[in-house]
């Protein structure tokens, strides 16, 4: 807004309409359309929409809006015939990128840190650095690869813009529009609210790695540092109390009550920074050798807690249940 030197009171009706429409499209269809004929409105409605979404303080709404706007950029870049558009946008984000035509089908070479900053959030195996062509610090990309990575950069950039700490004060007419959007979104998301975990701990729903460590620890076996962290954070997240977790470690011969209690309570978020830690993702556990091999459910999830949630559902459908 400041960049464009606009005052919120002065914003014309067409711009406000388009801003509201952008958000609506994002919330309902997860994609913002491109209306190139009215370029001026397109450009100025974006910061207005950002401000409106920022004012909602609704994390999911913000995430959804950022993603939809980023998708719009991706679609634009994908259609673009010339490669210069990609370079142009990449430069805005200070990417170290250049055209490369010596290794078809690749068209760009991007410095690996710029690549990693965005690609680590992608799950497909083709995005793993180990499966890319990399030479002299540059990762080779097709045009579509580059567009997809830029989409991610844009998404994160918009999310940061939306993440404002102080309250955004809007004039009444704009605030009314935001209120309407919020209601539409609540209505739409309605039932998809995530359910919490059940109160009892269901050992038979543990993923293989957690089950393995759980069995090991209860029979007094030694466990690696990262293993202990994964197990402890998993258990405190599915509803075990810090006290119960401490007791689990009691059978270890190097058990030191004070130290264990301190560490477990720290992970459970009852101490220090008060952050409750969640267990590492599956691929991190794989890197550190905690993963003991995947079963069928593992292949469908990326996180031990997601495994637990999923398995609980299948167990619920069946009966009876083994409980700890």
């Amino acid at each position: 807004m400041k960049e464009l030197d606009l005052k919120i009171e002065d914003i014309s009706e067409p711009i406000l309409n388009r801003a509201e429409h952008r958000i609506e499209e994002a919330l309902l269809y997860a994609l913002v359309s491109t209306q190139l004929r009215k370029e001026e409105i397109e450009i100025s409605s974006f910061p207005v929409a950002v401000m409106m979404v920022a004012s909602t303080a609704d994390k999911r709404m913000k995430r959804r809006y950022a993603l939809a706007e980023a998708k719009r950029v991706y679609n634009l870049l994908k259609e673009e015939k010339s490669k210069s558009k990609i370079l142009e946008i990449a430069k805005i984000f200070n990417w170290k990128i250049r055209l490369a035509d010596d290794k078809p089908p690749y068209e760009f070479a991007l410095f690996f840190t710029d690549y990693l900053r965005n690609a680590t959030r992608f799950q497909a195996k083709g995005w793993k650095l180990v499966n890319r062509i990399m030479l002299n610090g540059e990762v080779y990309l097709t045009k579509d690869d580059a567009a997809r990575l830029l989409e991610e950069e844009v998404r994160v950039h918009i999310e940061k813009k939306l993440d404002v700490k102080e309250k955004v004060a809007l004039p009444q007419n704009v605030a009314d529009r935001v209120e309407r959007l919020k209601q539409a979104f609540t209505k739409q998301k309605g039932k998809i609210e995530l359910e919490g975990f059940p109160e009892e701990i269901v050992v038979s729903a543990f993923p293989p790695c957690i089950k393995h460590m759980y069995d090991n620890i209860t029979s007094g076996h030694h466990l690696s540092h990262i293993g202990r962290f994964a197990l402890t954070s998993f258990l405190t997240n599915i509803g075990m109390t810090a006290e119960e977790v401490v007791n689990l470690y009691r059978s270890l011969s190097d058990f030191k009550e004070r130290l264990t209690r301190y560490q477990v309570e720290h992970i459970a978020g009852e101490r220090g920074s008060r952050t409750k830690y969640i267990p590492p993702r599956c691929d991190t556990l794989r890197t550190h050798g905690v993963c003991i091999g995947m079963d069928e459910i593992c292949r469908k999830v990326r996180h031990p807690l997601a495994y637990y949630r999923r398995k609980l559902r299948t167990i619920k459908a069946e009966a009876p249940v083994e409980r700890a």
């Binding site: 410095f111 690996f112 840190t113 990693l116 900053r117 690609a119 680590t120 959030r121 195996k125 083709g126 793993k128 650095l129 180990v130 499966n131 890319r132 062509i133 990399m134 030479l135 002299n136 610090g137 540059e138 007094g220 076996h221 030694h222 540092h225 990262i226 270890l252 011969s253 190097d254 220090g272 920074s273 691929d283 991190t284 794989r286 890197t287 550190h288 050798g289």
Partner: protein, 417 residues
């Protein structure tokens, strides 16, 4: 009683070293932004969250505290002395640790030993799952900085450096190589380019180095529809960049040396093995063109994939995954003593790594001899001399050799003499 005396003795020697050699201390880049940690002789406690404005202050501290091991943070902080959450992380060097502990070697049976914490029974080689005598799971294990182990660590380090140079494009100026003073090598990358990488990005780098998640398909080992007949297998070539070339070169290397048993072990069928051995010359010759993929009758896509996957594993470098992904790691400071050996961590010029001899260059104590009583020690070399093996014997050794055994807990200082 004796053990305390030995500890005190070693501490005195360390103190002497830091008194004499404080001028050779090498401060890390931006010392004022690093956290320091000292492992103390007494109680084996780690004193953390220390900060120093300059190397003189650090030297003073080492002289008064005389720690058994000196560490500094890979990270740069605004306020290194505050608690973790308050430090203000500014970035971190990229650190690789290659330790013989992570590489299986044939010699560990000879020199590694363990003692059960519960009943005191001892054994040789790799730690057992549980004590054969009492069923306890906790052990005191003694590893040994042996030449074969360090040689295998060197091989892994060379593979690592190759990837960092060729693939990641780091210059020799950005990389610093060290002998850890015990059983391995450290490679530090200091460069603004990588300082801000988060833990997830570093994890991807680790996966790259250890070849985790590598898919040969994504490196061009694919079946393509041929003209009339069924599909044709194509694959990477020797000169391809990155992992593609590594898969090809690894396959070439593996097949040129593979024995019948090697081929059996990776799960190939007998018929396939016979063909591979019979057509070995043709296979090696084929690399001048497009590689053997697809042209050798009787070796199908599935078999090639097994071979390539195994070959790739041999090309990966075995690093400690935890060290590299940790953006707040404490690492040993260059030119300080290793509490387990009395040797020092030293920098190795990268271009003379091949001929580097840790048992010569890392010697910190170069003068005098000591009389010690050795309980049990394997044969070892230090400098140009070979010592031992010793069993329950009193010997007089050069200071460095004696300290190595004392630090390892394999010997005691000789009484009141």
């Amino acid at each position: 009683m004796k053990e305390i005396e030995t500890k005190k003795f070693v501490k005195n020697k360390f103190s002497e070293y830091y008194q004499k050699h404080s001028s050779s201390l090498q401060p890390p880049t931006l010392i004022e932004k690093r956290e320091f940690g000292f492992l103390m002789f007494t109680g084996r406690v780690m004193v953390r969250h220390k900060g120093f404005k300059n190397v003189d202050d650090l030297a003073k501290s080492l002289k008064t505290l005389v720690p058994s091991d000196v560490y500094y943070s890979s990270a740069y902080y605004e306020r290194p002395e505050e608690e973790m959450e308050e430090k203000g992380w500014l970035g971190a060097d990229l650190i690789f640790d290659i330790d013989a502990d992570h590489i299986p070697t044939p010699c560990e049976k000879i020199h590694d030993a363990w003692t059960c914490n519960n009943c005191g029974i001892t054994g040789k080689g790799v730690l057992p799952e549980k004590c054969p005598a009492c069923g306890e799971h906790r052990f005191d294990d003694k590893t040994w900085p042996c030449e074969v182990c360090l040689e295998s660590a060197k091989t892994e380090t060379i593979k690592l450096m190759d990837m960092l140079k060729q693939d990641f494009g780091f210059s020799t100026k950005e990389m610093k190589l060290y002998f850890s003073g015990h059983r391995g090598y450290h490679l530090h990358v200091e460069s603004e380019k990588i300082q801000l990488l988060d833990s997830m990005a570093r994890k991807e780098i680790v996966d790259y180095i250890i070849g985790l998640g590598l898919e040969t398909k994504l490196h061009g080992l694919v079946e393509e529809k041929g003209e009339r007949k069924a599909s044709i297998l194509t694959g990477p070539s020797l000169n391809d960049p990155g992992w593609s070339g590594r898969i090809a070169r690894g396959t070439y290397e593996f097949l040129s040396k593979a024995t019948l048993n090697d081929l059996k072990e990776i799960g190939l069928k007998k018929k396939v093995i016979d063909t591979l051995i019979k057509r070995k010359d043709a296979i090696l010759e084929s690399w001048k063109e497009k590689g053997p993929w697809g042209i050798i009758k009787g070796v199908g896509a599935a078999s090639w994939r097994k071979i390539a996957q195994h070959a790739a594993e041999m090309q990966a470098a075995k690093i400690d995954t935890v060290v590299t992904t940790d953006t707040r790691r404490l690492i040993r400071l260059n030119n300080t003593l290793h509490g387990k050996t009395g040797l020092k961590k030293i920098e190795i010029p990268i271009n003379s790594f091949e001929s580097f001899d840790p048992f010569k260059s890392a010697i910190a104590f170069k003068e005098g001899t000591l009389k010690i009583i050795v309980q049990d020690a394997p044969q070892f070399r230090l400098g140009d001399q070979t010592y031992g093996p010793y069993k329950n014997r009193q010997v007089e050794l050069p200071t460095a050799a004696a300290l190595l055994l004392l630090c390892k807990g394999m010997a005691k200082v000789k009484g009141e003499e």
